[in-house]
Subunit: 122 residues, 4 copies
Amino acid sequence: MTGKHTWAIPEGYIPEGSTGPEPEMESHETVCLLNATDEDATVEITVYFTDRGPIGPYEKTVPAERTRHFRFNEFEDPEPIPTGEDFASVIESDVPVVCQHTRLDSRQAENALLSTIAHPGE
Amino acid sequence: MTGKHTWAIPEGYIPEGSTGPEPEMESHETVCLLNATDEDATVEITVYFTDRGPIGPYEKTVPAERTRHFRFNEFEDPEPIPTGEDFASVIESDVPVVCQHTRLDSRQAENALLSTIAHPGE
Amino acid sequence: MTGKHTWAIPEGYIPEGSTGPEPEMESHETVCLLNATDEDATVEITVYFTDRGPIGPYEKTVPAERTRHFRFNEFEDPEPIPTGEDFASVIESDVPVVCQHTRLDSRQAENALLSTIAHPGE
Amino acid sequence: MTGKHTWAIPEGYIPEGSTGPEPEMESHETVCLLNATDEDATVEITVYFTDRGPIGPYEKTVPAERTRHFRFNEFEDPEPIPTGEDFASVIESDVPVVCQHTRLDSRQAENALLSTIAHPGE
């Protein structure tokens, strides 16, 4: 199967505010990880900012043959990611995974969506 | 021509509910396959979840020199994919194909769209 | 510079109907080509369907050091592409170009957008 | 870490007009750059048009271990990029970076979004 150990997402932004019922219509910025291997993946996410040093790693687990869609707006340890501020992220995994970036923006009355496969490292 | 035997889509989510006339404005999650070769493609799609084992394969055919846009919300055999739940998918084809992922979300009054080329396997 | 001779876009659909002033808010499906070389590019686009053979090539030119954003809904020769029907496309160029796919869907009152870099051939 | 010296974005268009509070809901076309290396990146952006020669380079800096999300609609030197006109861009950096393209279109009452990882050069 396909997969990479490193992925990068240059775009990141948690919209301030939401419209509609939570949690499904809450504005969110998500990193979707697929671990199609038969080994659990330990994942470390580092978050980069415009004017200060990176924070992290945020440690996550994606069990074997599972997908996990992590919302940056729910990250807490080592610290929450501020809303309304540009960021970027690098995802590193000890087993090969596939990574996709999705945002749901419900600041205005109707929601908007974006998504892209992240950039794979070598 | 270009094409790969394996593709992965880490993002998957069938929105619950729709607004507007069906089927064109029904919320849907689609895997678009292009078979530009001169041989029919037999495709197997495996669907991964957050907290239980994968299901599938869903078997599909894409004839030679045709495109097929399959909606995950219409998958039935071996079982329907639940709405409102995170999933991911792996697409395997016996001839090289190209794969793109698209969602139309019409839960709110105006529709939102996302799309990305899937991640190709080696 | 970067660029490829062949690109594929499995997703294609010209929405039926639009809301808002034309041409900027007319629903459209676009293939954006960048020719950053110093030679004019002759481009041939072949369109694939669900249940009938491909049509084309649609011949286009992208001059040296220029970009052209072609709307599938304005293709006429050899024949227009029907609205409301799934299609896919393959783009072949005699000099290396870069290709991105974008849709603006204004069927409902507010517009929706999708975009992805196309899949490059070998 | 991953990254490339050259990136291309064939799609470019600065919507004319916006709805909602500025700057966060102003229509914008953005190039998001991540420099995960420990060296500052000097970046040159060249912008291509439909019917006239390219302009640039627009010179930007992305410090070591930082991300910068540059809005094409705020480019000023050597000259502003016109709104309502198709363009494309090539991004060249002296250290490896990762590049993503995002548009927020708020011409109509509710905003629309698109995003994709740019096309990496060799």
